[in-house]
């Protein structure tokens, strides 16, 4: 049968199934193929907080969304074009996302009465006409897989497990993806289980062949590679990119990396990743709790390491007293907060941006800390590197904010060259830095006149023994001081040091193609993708809109006020109730409007586009 090949410019696919169906794996592999093929892409996994929620229930649905295109991709996409649903629960949980005409590939084997009733389908949607608006392909994925593997020495249950590979094969055919990457992955994973390997490869093959031969599909698609900047690419998630950024900073600065951490979703994968790289001299320490995580990092920083602690919101709350100590000690320290839905335990596996003000103010006293925010999965690399650079240069704890969507999301990444990264100079003090009556002495709190940074002194350095602590210190000598004027001076000096970073960082990033937009959409962190996509969307309709994005959230880039005043209106979309908005309004007295979404889900670009139009309609 000859099939028609249709060329598309972009596709959004959503794989969904039970937690145990291996949908994350299927998505990952399809993504790897797609990345290797040269499309730009962006992904978003979405899984339940339970390890294995009860089979076949709505709670147990795990899904993975992939957006790929022949042009630059900014988000995992709003409305998927294709849904692969391995059971009725997966259909029910996701159908609301699908636009009319979307393709549904449904595993008909699982649409039994029992499974349907479990999720409240009182009639079978495959039969009752309720899916008429969609292009439905009901395929017996499970039994076809079992059938394809009948020659293998496997129980039915074992054979069924490969149904995700069967689906992968089918989808790979449908979108003309090479399957080499998936094969390589399987070969590696099942190197020690040749039987399982063979079965999985066979299932993959069978899925592909099924697509090619069945009459169910009369067309198939190709999406041409995008043409990004030349170079070597790989596909990377935010948490891995962040880990690599830290290792890069360690390599470039010559400072051994130390991570003190306590597992917590969605930050744990940074601990997992870094623990693999002991051959870089990376020391990972799984502490007894978050307080010990940051405490050990402070000890390591005092010892002259590039010290890091990673966690999510509730962990930051616990670390806050110790972060205050790091502020008082003026030691380099990187604090990673992979934000998730709050308050309290909240929505642990979902995304949110509601820890910004916690990072700013979640400590007793005046306790200023720079804050860097990553804006895409691959950008976590740059953000981590920049956080390390600021921490070391200014001898200060630095917050690095990412979120659940960035952490688990993934995109292609143009590999950097380590030598081209900006230098990081630990510049340890090795000699006395002051004179008193002609005698050289150490003043551990004598500041660099430019950066206001104090010296970093490694224990073991002869002649520089000294003591530091959390009580207020005399300017210069660092001795305990209860002097009122000195306290006021130190409070202002610590603040000025952090504010001073604005001097040397780049100006606010602004994208205003026509230069005469009336509305500025101001974002930070992971809204970068949806805001960018929304702006592109509305610009296609001739609407003029500018997009500015804040990477260094504290202090703001020096020209922020000036940029803001250039626009009649400012709109700030945030996955919180208006945290950046408060800071912008309070700092610049600009009547910025908020667009807030606190659903544990990233913005859709259409939501932002609608808000843009709405604002402009009222200018």
């Amino acid at each position: 049968m000859s099939k028609q090949l249709i060329t598309l410019d972009q596709v959004i696919i959503r794989f969904a199934g039970d937690s145990g169906d291996g949908m994350q794996l299927t998505g990952d592999q399809f993504t790897a193929e797609t990345a290797a093929y040269g499309n730009d892409l962006s992904t978003m996994p979405d899984y339940p907080a339970e390890i294995r929620a009860p089979q076949g229930t709505l709670h147990g649905v795990s899904s993975f969304q992939l957006h790929f295109a022949d042009h630059e991709v900014l988000t995992p996409g709003d409305a998927p074009n294709v849904l692969v649903a391995m059971n009725p629960a997966a259909l029910k949980a996701n159908i609301g996302l699908m636009g009319p005409g979307a393709t549904l590939i449904l595993n008909s084997d699982e649409f039994t009465k029992r499974n349907l009733e479990k999720v409240g389908y009182w009639s079978n949607p495959l039969e009752d006409g309720s899916l008429a608006r969609y292009d439905v392909h009901a395929i017996a994925l499970t039994s076809q897989t079992v059938d394809a593997l009948k020659d293998f020495d496997l129980t039915r249950k074992e054979a069924e497990r490969s149904k995700n590979m069967y689906a992968l094969g089918l989808l790979s055919w449908l979108y003309s993806r090479p399957t080499d990457a998936a094969r390589r992955y399987l070969e590696k994973k099942f190197a020690k289980k040749p039987e399982v390997l063979a079965a999985n490869l066979a299932a993959l093959e069978a899925g592909w062949s099924f697509g090619e031969t069945t009459e169910a599909f009369s067309v198939y698609y190709e999406i041409k590679p995008s043409s990004p900047a030349p170079g070597t690419y790989r596909y990377i998630t935010g948490n891995v990119a962040l880990s690599y950024g830290l290792i890069a900073a360690s390599v470039r600065s010559g400072l051994p990396l130390f991570l003190g951490s306590y597992p917590i979703t969605p930050a744990s994968d940074i601990l997992h990743e870094l623990s693999k790289h002991k051959n870089f001299g990376v020391r990972t320490f799984q502490a007894e709790d978050e307080i010990a995580g940051v405490g050990s990092a402070i000890g390591a920083a005092y010892g002259g390491m590039l010290a890091v602690t990673t966690t999510s919101g509730p962990g930051i709350a616990l670390k806050s007293e110790a972060i205050g100590l790091a502020v008082a000690l003026e030691l380099p320290l990187i604090i990673v907060d992979v934000q998730r839905g709050g308050p309290s335990t909240g929505l642990p596996t979902k995304t949110e941006q509601a820890d910004l003000l916690q990072a700013m103010y979640g400590r007793n006293g005046e306790s200023p800390v720079p804050i860097v925010a990553a804006q895409s999965p691959a950008d976590c690399f740059n953000a981590a590197y920049e956080a390390a650079r600021i921490a070391v240069t200014y001898r200060t704890p630095v917050f690095l904010l990412t979120d659940g969507a960035l952490a688990n999301g993934a995109e292609p990444w143009l590999l950097p060259s380590i030598d081209e990264l900006p230098p990081i100079d630990p510049a340890f003090l090795t000699e006395p830095n002051h004179e008193v009556d002609g005698t050289p002495v150490l003043w551990p709190f004598k500041r660099d006149p430019e950066t206001l940074a104090r010296p970093w002194i490694k224990p073991g350095t002869p002649g520089l023994t000294h003591r530091i602590g959390g009580i207020e210190k005399q300017d210069g000598t660092g001795n305990i001081s209860y002097d009122p004027a000195n306290h006021d001076r130190m409070v202002r000096l610590r603040d000025a040091k952090v504010q001073g970073i604005a001097r040397e960082v780049p100006n606010l990033w602004v994208d205003d193609p026509t230069g005469d937009a009336e509305l500025l959409v101001l974002g930070w962190g992971s809204t970068y993708g949806p805001v960018g996509a929304a702006c592109e969307e509305v610009r296609k309709e001739g609407i003029k809109v500018a997009h500015a994005h804040i990477r260094l959230v504290h202090p703001f880039p020096a020209d922020t006020g000036e940029v803001l005043r250039r626009y009649r209106r400012v709109l700030i979309p945030e996955m919180n109730l208006g945290q950046l908005a408060l800071l912008i309004r309070g700092t610049y007295l600009v009547d910025a409007m908020s667009l807030n979404k606190v659903e544990g889900q990233p913005f859709k670009s259409t939501e932002i586009a609608a808000a843009i139009k709405d604002v402009l309609a009222h200018v």
Binding site: H277, N279, G295, A300, G463
Partner: protein, 348 residues
């Protein structure tokens, strides 16, 4: 003494001999007159030269409390951190800097109240720390509330009608989490204190030393039965490895048929049956049993000295060994190779 400690094998030696004076800082010591902390400070300053290592390779980390002011007064590297967190901070330092001799100074509130968790985890991990726990059975710095080592029924500012909590026995607690070195000594017994510091310093891994310390202001005389010249010898049990365990002038520790310890007069007949102290037993049970001898209120039969001193892999060594091992296997980290460890593709 210039003999070096095996436990400090990774710490650079000093070439110039040091004296107690070298360990004094220019900061005024700000404890109350008569506070037991002075005696401990003097003993530590006098002992540190014995380590034979350079001053700059010693670091003292403390928490918050009167006792935790200690680092300011010792001319080494040091950090006066936050309440209860010294063991955690010191762990980060110890595992990254095996070339340092790391000491923790803490109080009964700092170590056992707010800091209890870090303390027990450091001990189970056998982090290479020498922990000096100044136990004055009270919160000194906050002006006299009861602490987790205060006796039941204690009347303090926060318990005007008497406290209800049953106290920790710090030695039992440490043995319960299998700390590899556990000792107890007194601020006022300079010789015993110094010997105990020496034994702790010689130990590889976590050494905890409970120092019974007097707080002149808020809990004066808390340890009187163990300090007053007239009675102390009848109350103290001085543990010495390999020696029979004697109590006062005439008594000794015996074991009955059910394995329980009891104290009795030593006679010629039973002298051979006095229990011999073995600090090196792998099983902490015997040491635990000794820790139960003392009466928490009257303080009779209170053992001092080294309860336990056994070898177990040390955390910083283990971490270094793992790094070495992995580096040997995988080769020293190459960043470019790391970037390319996943599938890559080229765009021309």
């Amino acid at each position: 003494m210039s003999e070096t400690f095996a436990s400090l094998s990774l710490v650079p030696k000093t070439t110039t001999p040091l004296s107690a004076k070298d360990f004094k800082t220019d900061q005024e010591v700000r404890w109350c007159p008569g506070c037991g902390d002075y005696a401990i400070l003097a003993a530590v300053q006098a002992f540190l030269p014995e380590l034979g290592v350079a001053r700059e390779n010693i670091t003292i980390i403390s928490g918050i409390g009167c006792s935790s002011r200690f680092p300011y007064y010792v001319d080494t590297y040091g950090m006066h951190s936050i309440h209860g967190r010294a063991p955690a901070i010191a762990t980060g330092l110890s595992v990254t800097r095996p070339d340092l001799s790391v000491w923790v100074v803490t109080g009964d509130g700092d170590a056992l109240s707010i800091g209890g968790n870090h303390l027990i985890h450091a001990m189970r991990r056998n982090v290479n720390l020498k922990i000096l726990l100044f136990n004055n059975r009270i919160y000194g710095l906050t002006k006299g509330q009861y602490s987790p080592t205060s006796e039941e029924g204690k009347i303090t500012k926060s318990t005007p009608y008497g406290s209800l909590d049953h106290p920790f026995n710090p030695v039992s607690l440490a043995l319960g989490v299998e700390c590899t070195f556990v000792a107890r000594t007194l601020d006022s017994d300079r010789k015993h204190l110094t010997e105990t510091l020496r034994a702790a310093a010689a130990h590889e891994g976590t050494a905890i030393v409970e120092i019974m310390q007097n707080c002149d202001i808020f809990n004066d005389g808390a340890w009187a039965p163990l300090k007053d010249a007239e009675v102390r010898d009848e109350n103290l049990i001085r543990l010495e490895h390999g020696q029979p365990i004697r109590v006062g002038a005439s008594r000794g520790v015996f074991r009955d048929d059910r394995g329980e310890l009891f104290i009795d007069e030593v006679t010629e007949a039973n002298a051979a049956k006095v229990v011999i102290h073995d600090a090196h037993m792998d099983d902490p049970s015997a040491a635990f049993q000794l820790s139960r001898l003392s009466d928490p209120v009257r303080l009779s039969n209170t053992p001092v000295g080294v309860f336990r001193d056994v070898a177990r892999p040390v955390f910083d060594r283990q971490m270094q060994a793992q790094i070495d091992e992995v580096s040997r296997k995988l080769g020293t980290g190459d960043f470019d190779r790391l970037l390319r460890s996943a599938d890559t593709w080229e765009i021309a």
